[in-house]
Symmetry: C2
Subunit: 479 residues, 2 copies
């Protein structure tokens, strides 16, 4: 099993070439001919823009300032070729690892019938260890290949396979939040339901304890308290999960305001008289149980009222925007600009398998497109730009999962979670030039860097993600 | 240069395995263990479902019924492996070949500013022969690699490079309608505008004549009369193009009702008093000039009135639905179900580069998603299924481009325009099994055929298109 403190005997590393990352919501920073030094612990220890892409010059300038282990023979050097660039790893703030085999399979369903028809049967079946290993191995490899260096995973209610998912993330070197799914109401079928609030909490504690054993410092993998969503949880379970969150200070993930029938159901299941909530809104329900905090990741947030969004902003809770899912199962078009304007921190989620794609780049693309559907409704300012969706996919996501101090950009002190992006270069004969892998992004040569990035966002896929690192470790490479 | 009657000395061919094609709008037909015989002219001469995928049995049963050239040593045999299937080639009913280098580059623009900022400068620059060759070579290769066996292309106003596009399609073996773009009003900048209606018509005739020379039987490539869109054309030009269409009986392609500002502009430019149209609607303008016929391909049709849709149905004009484009440049969400219910024939268009992707599969995916956005507006029945978007991509498209007797499905008498689709098979260890090319569609083994097709629609890309044939000729193969 991988250990995360020794970091597999990593060497110090020097990365040279073009680096692109978000400076702020609507601005990418382009660092060309730059150098980034990453130490044995995967931490960025130097960023230089003066060496004009010259490895020797970077080494001569930077190594002496960095001390032991920083000499030519000791450092692993990675140069981005002309036209390639380093980009921060993507952060998937909402993905059901257990549903991965169902991507694309949802028919014409909407949330509540989708759960019963497609989702619960598959999730329940992952109590079978060999099946869980097959599915979870695949989803970790798959998301890494798409540049997802960090994922907030929902597993299932089964402890053993939830723990296996955490083991697999750690072994593969993917940063992850891993949540054992809590649900004890008849919203879930009898064959896939916690027996009682007490059993749900005990099972959750067992999973938390396992993760604490395999990654005591939570260097890569951490547990996340996961009430599936309000309708799945009884009032006693909600209370107990709120108490567990207060006790452990762990992050929380759940769903909110995805679908109108779901919202009506919450209103019915959680009357103010029973919850003591401030009102009968979905948001107030979570708030009443101590589940709406700055450590809370709320997936969807499609149909929130003004008051709900204000309360989310007030509590500092975060939103995982899942456009692929919201369009696919006809949930609605989330108003991301409106949330951002209220100061709500937003990231992107693939929401596999309500979302049909394991790719955060696809989620970024759909975030841009769905925002245009919001704009068609009259709010021209709703449109999200390429720069903005890439911010959501990296820095926004980092803040959503509570790791904004560790990942999301290329600054000294952050950890090296990054991908090397390569695009196709079209030759005079109309063929893609040798040495470039076949892919869907064709650069003709006259495009600006901004245009190249836009081409990547709109036509890119895992073929453009040539290498992926997490905490300095190379965790994926296209052959 | 390829000739299309001799068909490059094709041999007779036998295809064996699973075949999937549209039976009707909402139904795919699955033929497993079937056999299809294709003769030297690329025509399907036998379809058999009795031989259980046994090549020897198929040969023994079918060859004797087919006569000369049908014996074991003479026939080229292609077997789809377990899990692979043959599918009709995709038909892109609306694509600007000249705009391909701009895919993904549109910023936050909408139609009219997009044209001036991004589109006209690029199109005009393709008057340079080397640039045109590079771009057109790439777009033909690219679309073939995505399974586009037939495309309705807009080139530019330049005759020589428009003719080059036709040459390249013919040489590469792609079925195509190739249109020289007509526009003589100040909607286009002075540097990219026909000098007069007469010059526009003369240039169009020159392109028509060229295509008649290179493919006299229009076996693969045919000209299409292409008024860019009403605001680009003066009334005399519209009149002359209507007359040319009547004289030549050629297909017509143009844009309609894409964007609200564009519609207002049409109303302003074409008052009833000047056109003699039945009313001042966009549709009535085309109708007034004889440009609304059963041979007309109308791209977009987003904001049509009831009366306009009824008139389109009455005239038998066809609609090219371009969801990627309509979302990307914020045009609107076309109501495809509503058009289909009125009896309007619809197909899919990538609309490169208003649309960001050259892939008809991506257009099919977006057609499904955009239809869900229409459904969010209240019309639950608006949702398009996987079966329906694949119908639009094949049979629907065939009818839109006037080739429904030749392509779109696997029946005796049709021509063999097809793709071989392969999906990834996940092994017990979570890796994709040997021999399967890496791609984005993961089949775990327990999925039904319907689910596999859904997975392909939602996560598939050109990697799944292993081989492509047009008129029996192998025109693309992934290495």
């Amino acid at each position: 099993m991988a250990t995360t403190t020794a970091q597999n005997n990593l060497k110090n590393q020097l990365f040279v070439g073009s680096f692109i990352h978000s400076k702020k919501l609507n601005q990418l920073e382009y660092l060309h001919g730059a150098s980034v030094c990453v130490d044995k612990n995967g931490k960025i220890v130097a960023v230089d823009t003066q060496c004009a892409g010259d490895v020797k010059k970077a080494a001569a300038t930077l190594y002496p300032t960095l001390g032991e282990g920083w000499s030519e023979g000791e450092v692993v050097v990675q140069v981005a070729k002309e036209g390639q660039f380093f980009f921060p790893g993507f952060i998937d703030t909402h993905i059901h690892a257990s549903q991965y085999p169902n991507v694309g399979i949802f028919g014409s369903s909407t949330l509540l019938d989708w759960l019963n028809t497609y989702t619960f049967p598959l999730e329940a079946s992952l109590a079978e260890p060999a099946k869980a290993r097959k599915v979870y191995t695949r989803v970790v490899r798959k998301t890494l290949s798409h540049g997802t260096t960090c994922a907030a995973y929902y597993a299932t209610k089964d402890v053993a396979s939830t723990n296996l998912l955490a083991d697999l993330c750690l072994a593969a070197g993917q940063r992850a939040l891993v949540g054992r799914v809590c649900m004890d109401t008849p919203l879930s079928p009898e064959y896939y339901r916690d027996e009682s609030p007490a059993q749900s909490i005990a099972a959750t504690r067992a999973s938390i304890a396992h993760i604490a054993r395999i990654d005591p410092a939570m260097a890569l993998v951490r547990p996340v308290i996961t009430p599936r969503f309000a309708p799945s949880c009884s009032i006693p379970l909600m209370q107990a999960l709120g108490a567990l969150a207060a006790e452990t200070d762990l992050p929380i993930q759940t769903h909110i305001s995805e679908n109108k029938n779901e919202i009506a159901l919450v209103r019915e299941l959680f009357p103010v008289a029973a919850t003591g909530a401030a009102d009968d809104s979905y948001t107030a329900v979570y708030d009443a149980f101590g589940l709406l905090s700055s450590r809370t990741i709320l997936a969807h947030a499609v149909h929130l009222s003004e008051a709900e969004a204000d309360l989310i902003a007030l509590r500092g809770a975060k939103v995982s925007h899942c456009p692929c899912s919201n369009s696919a199962i006809t949930s609605g078009a989330a108003r991301v600009r409106w949330l951002l304007d209220k100061g709500v921190c937003c990231g992107l989620g693939t929401d596999v398998s309500g979302g049909y794609s394991p790719s955060v780049l696809e989620a970024a693309r759909l975030a841009a497109l769905v925002s245009r559907h919001v704009a068609m409704g009259g709010d021209e300012a709703a449109k999200l730009t390429v720069e903005e969706v890439l911010f959501l996919a990296t820095r926004g996501g980092a803040e959503v999962v509570g790791l904004e101090d560790k990942v999301g950009g290329f600054e000294v002190g952050k950890e090296w979670d990054a991908q090397l992006i390569g695009l196709g270069s079209v030759g005079e004969d109309g063929a893609v030039e040798d040495g470039d892998e076949d892919g869907n992004v064709d650069v003709f040569g006259w495009e600006s860097w901004e245009e190249r990035v836009a081409k990547w966002v709109y036509n890119g896929d895992d073929r453009n993600t040539r290498k992926v690192w997490v905490r300095g470790r190379l965790v994926h490479e296209r052959k």
